[in-house]
Amino acid sequence: MSTEAVASATGHYVPPKQSKRGQVFDSVFILALLFAVLFGVTYYSNAAAAPTTAKPKPLAQLPITQTERQQYQRAIDEGLVDLKGVNDQVAASTPKSGSKQYPINPLALLATFGVIAGYLVFVYLMSFREYREVIRERFGSPPGSSPPSDGGAA
């Protein structure tokens, strides 16, 4: 699929040339990774809360302010929402007590930010290492240091 990388006469890294088959494989791979991970998550995402099935209450009996009642009436008049929809929306937006509105699982929080931290550390450390190679090849070895024997090839 590719020829081996070599160091040129100037000590610069000469990458192998990737074959067409290799290019197709890499394109398919990154696409497959994208779909496998992101599509999978989307597919298994939790569905929204089920709408209420009880008989809808009239606007006057819902726990909303007078202004909101008037605004809802106008929305109903314009066909934006029906009374059942209003009941569902008011029920769904009623605040839950204590920390139930936005519950936090400490383990999930630690795991998530642990993965993020690990990811960032990996990316930055590798990037800085690769960056030194780039600068060394582009500008030559820093003043006062001996040139690298491997031409900077990884």
């Binding site: 590719s2 990388a5 610069h12 890294y13 990458p15 990737q18 067409k20 290799g22 290019q23 197709v24 890499d26 990774l33 994208l34 991970v37 992101l38 599509f39 998550v41 989307t42 597919y43 995402s45 569905a47 909303i64 302010t65 007078q66 202004t67 909101e68 605004q71 809802y72 106008r74 929305a75 314009e78 934006l80 209003v86 929306q89 008011v90 769904a92 937006s93 509105q101 936005y102 699982n105 998530t112 930010f113 993965v115 993020i116 690990g118 990811y119 990996f122 990316v123 930055y124 590798m126 990037s127 290492r129 690769e130 960056y131 030194r132 780039v134 090849e137 582009r138 820093p142 990884a154």
Partner: protein, 489 residues
């Protein structure tokens, strides 16, 4: 493309073919854009967020939660615009932040930033196309059509037509974006005038909000924090202006001017949008509405104004998808050009001078994620697709902080000619870091699994890049700017 059979061609033909080949090898993107196009690109991508999406922050934190989110996240994006304006006015190359990462942080970070950009814009494009199909149904119903509209057809058509437009040339693409974005922006101002926004008690009613603390902040300050996630929607994508740097006649002038006027436009549009919607619709409805501005126009103005807002919604959605195709393809193309991805993607169309292969390759990705909520009959999955976009953007903003510090450290003021130097450094970078961390936490509150999965995707892709891909990359040639050696290296 043209092949020469050595046995039959004359020397003149061989020379002509060789000249054509040399010309193709040096094909470059066309430098045809000015500040107005940059404004149209930046605001065009974002303005759809005013027409739909921002209001999910009302569901998270109530009406005042959404307003505070608009302000706080507005500060985040002002910092983004300031930093981008300085760096991009100096690094004028397609790929924007990707190219910045190559020159400031290193190849692996650049690969990640390239992916952040591609996913941010492709997922946004998918969400736009999904909304186009919903809008088509809604508008058809308002026009009296009682049958069902095939959403698949409209999603695929919208993406294909816009991809074709992008394929044909950047000047036409962004000129159209400029016009339809301007119309969509003017429509918001017209709605403000039509609802007599300067006189709060005339047609707008805020008593429901101020009469009770529970109505204004139903979930308390934690709700305000949770609202930050969808507060991003007011401005998400303004940093996309950088992608067009290589196609500007003068990037040093066009990028800062287009970006800064763009963020000013969006800050005003965000507040106007919140104001007219909050004074018209109950917050419980607003928090789940798909087209809040159109709904507001329908309830409070009707007639021609409602029609204008319907047109504005469609235009804003198309402008956003159009700009997203432009930006995602530039990022993908740039990575192909540098061999971070297969070199095949780094091609420029010989006639239209566009990154045509990158444009075409991303079409099925956008279509797949756009039709997913329809396919599974789960409209709420639109929010998940949007969250992929938001999170990718957030990860990129977190990169911009060390990027800015290193830019000033490696090439201090005076060493390079900067088209624009932002004031108060390092305050914008620190502010950006703090607010980005808050929004990341807010996203965890609502979409923790999505956040974790997306980071795992980027981690796996990074490992793949280091182990299998980086060997194809020429080290020194990644540094393309005519700059002196970075200080300390």
């Amino acid at each position: 493309m043209t092949s020469v059979a050595s046995g039959s061609a004359t020397p003149e033909e061989v020379r002509a073919a060789a000249d054509a080949h040399a010309a193709r090898k040096h094909l470059a993107l066309k430098k045809v854009l000015g500040p107005a196009h940059i404004w149209g690109l930046g605001v065009g991508i974002v303005l759809v967020g005013e027409y739909m999406g921002w209001n999910f922050s009302v569901q998270k934190g109530g009406m005042f939660g959404a307003l505070i989110a608009a302000w706080v996240v507005g500060v985040l994006y002002t910092c983004v615009a300031m930093i981008d304006s300085e760096v991009t006015s100096t690094v004028a190359a397609a790929g924007g932040q990707y190219t910045q990462a190559k020159h400031m942080i290193g190849p692996l970070m650049a690969f990640n930033v390239g992916l952040f950009l591609v996913l941010e814009y492709t997922m946004l494009e998918a969400a736009d196309a999904n909304v186009v199909s919903y809008l088509t149904s809604t508008i058809a119903n308002h026009l009296g059509y009682t049958g069902s509209v095939n959403q698949y057809a409209f999603i695929i058509l919208a993406i294909m037509i816009l991809a074709f437009l992008n394929y044909r040339g950047v000047l036409m693409t962004l000129s159209i974006n400029l016009v339809i974005t301007a119309i969509a922006a003017i429509a918001i101002v017209v709605l403000f005038v039509a609802t007599q926004g300067w006189s709060p008690d005339a047609q707008l009613h805020f008593h429901g909000l101020v009469s009770s603390h529970d109505n204004a902040l139903p979930y308390g300050w934690f709700g305000v924090l949770a609202a930050f996630q969808f507060g991003m929607w007011y401005y998400l994508g303004i940093e996309g202006t950088c992608q067009a740097a290589e196609e500007c006649r003068s990037a040093a002038r066009s990028i800062p001017l287009g970006t800064m006027t763009g963020i000013i436009t969006l800050l005003m549009a965000a507040v106007l949008t919140w104001y007219v919607c909050a004074g018209t619709l109950p917050w419980q409805y607003l928090g789940v509405s798909i087209t809040p501005l159109f709904d507001t126009a329908l309830v409070n103005a009707g007639g021609a104004v409602a029609t204008l807002l319907a047109v504005g919604t469609v235009f804003a959605t198309f402008a956003s998808a159009n700009g997203c195709i432009n930006d995602a393809s530039r990022a993908w193309f740039s990575m192909g050009r540098d061999n971070y991805l297969p070199a095949w993607f780094g091609a420029i169309h010989p006639r239209y001078r566009t990154p045509f292969r990158a444009i075409l390759f991303l079409v099925p990705v956008a279509i797949a994620f756009a039709i997913l909520p329809v396919l599974l009959n789960k409209p709420e999955l639109l929010a998940t697709v949007i969250t992929f976009s938001i999170l990718s953007a957030l990860l990129m903003y977190s990169f911009m902080v060390p990027n800015m510090f290193r830019f000033r450290k490696l090439w201090p003021i005076g060493v390079l000619h900067r088209g624009y130097t932002h004031p108060l450094h390092p305050l914008p970078a620190i502010t950006l870091a703090v607010i980005a961390a808050l929004v990341l936490f807010a996203t965890f509150l609502g979409y923790g699994t999505t956040l974790l999965t997306l980071v795992i995707f980027y981690l796996l892709a990074s490992i793949w890049f280091v182990v299998f891909r980086y060997k194809y990359v020429r080290r020194g040639q990644q540094f393309t700017m005519p700059w002196p050696r970075p200080k300390g290296y």
